[in-house]
Amino acid sequence: MALELYLDLFSQPCRSVYIFARTNSIPFDLRKVSLLQGEQYGEEFGRINMMRKAPAIRDGDFCLAESVAILQYLAEKFQTPDHWYPRDLQQRARVNEYLSWQHTAVRAHGSKIYWLRLLIPKILGVEVPQDKMDAALEDLNGSLKLVEEKFLQDRPFIAGDHISLADLVAIVEIMQPVGSGLDVFESRPRLAAWRERVRVAVGTELFDEAHQEILASQEMVKDMDASKMQVFKPKILKLFL
């Protein structure tokens, strides 16, 4: 049985796994899990990942969740080029440092902006108080500042001269608020230049394909059947507001 990737490209961590597998020509069967339709709550997916989150993989009998763990697993199993997850002690540490930090920083703050700007008002029909929006934006700006000043500095990529898992995980998260109409690259030329380097390194066609859905979010919400999401409304409001 081939490697199965359970993904929804609306989700940032799904995109990093997808791009990594495709750019390294890792053979896999794509199993789409539509998160906005609540498919992660289905019985079959529950057997793949009881936490009911994407991405998840099934490799033979082995099921694995958490994109960071999945990326580390795939890099090792398929012996991808060293620069993705360098064997050099200090370079690998730089990658691990970013992969650890980002959970409660860029990922959290980028996700929140996407929900507050788009999904909560447009799909749940709830107005977001301005002070919460401002606070969320301030947090995102703080995280992006650290990406530029600590993690990138004057290097072409986070770990040095070559792209690694850190850049891949970083870019997919930073693209999320862009999908909600907030162009975070506009006033950040260094970040924009890095984005282009990452895009070229993974393959521009692949990068654009992977981001097609998220970048069409504002159009998507207009036609979306919001009924399936209503049941999650209280949980979502508690989480973000």
């Binding site: 009881m50 969740a65 763990a69 690998r92 440092e97 650890s100 002070d131 919460k132 606070a135």
Partner: protein, 242 residues
Amino acid sequence: MELYLDLHSQPCRSVYLLAKKTDIPFHFKLVDLSAGQQHGEEFGKVSMVRKVPVMKDGNFILTESVAILQYMVEKFPRLVPGHWYPSDLQRRARVNEFLSWQHTALRAHGSKVFWFRAVVPVVTGVAVPKEKMDSAVEDLKGSLEVFQNKFLQDGSFIAGEEVSLADLVALVEIMQPVGTGLDVFEGRPVLSAWRERVKKEIGEELFDEAHQSIMNVDRLAKTFQDNGMLEFLKPRIQKMFT
């Protein structure tokens, strides 16, 4: 090697415990969080993120406990037995899976309960509203349930039959709310049995020593006052509520 630590902090405890247990030589550099030392000029030169733990190995500075633990395992193969971060692909994946998940689950929820029970009332002089407290405790219970049902299951440890970084990180995070008097082990025999196994692997004396400050957290009130920290902490706590 220098380790910048404050043992009130969970990720500092995991780094400290691995280094001490495996005899990795290091200098303990205290960054007193209750005195706001992480915001000082000197520490700012070490790390602009202004968080602990931080490792300084020669000129190489590294933040993030997970990255530091992974670095120490790799750098000192003769000191750190392989089971701490197994080289077997699937076992390592299990460790990595937990280390990734815990940031926004066990760590986030345990920290929040700690802040709500031990810090907020001390700084603001008012208890956290019942609804918010109940919600935070509920989230913690949810994480503990996932931890038991998915990560521990029937194994002795997260990665199988041997203790690893995952168990170490899990336990220091779970101890945080325990320090405030919320005994999450009560009524959870599977979790308690696992705790005992992990404590034994680390060494009971070492474990207790590392957890001394957090288990005496009622002293925090006086410490904050003595250090003039109350006014400094108030706006930060306001932000936690918005």
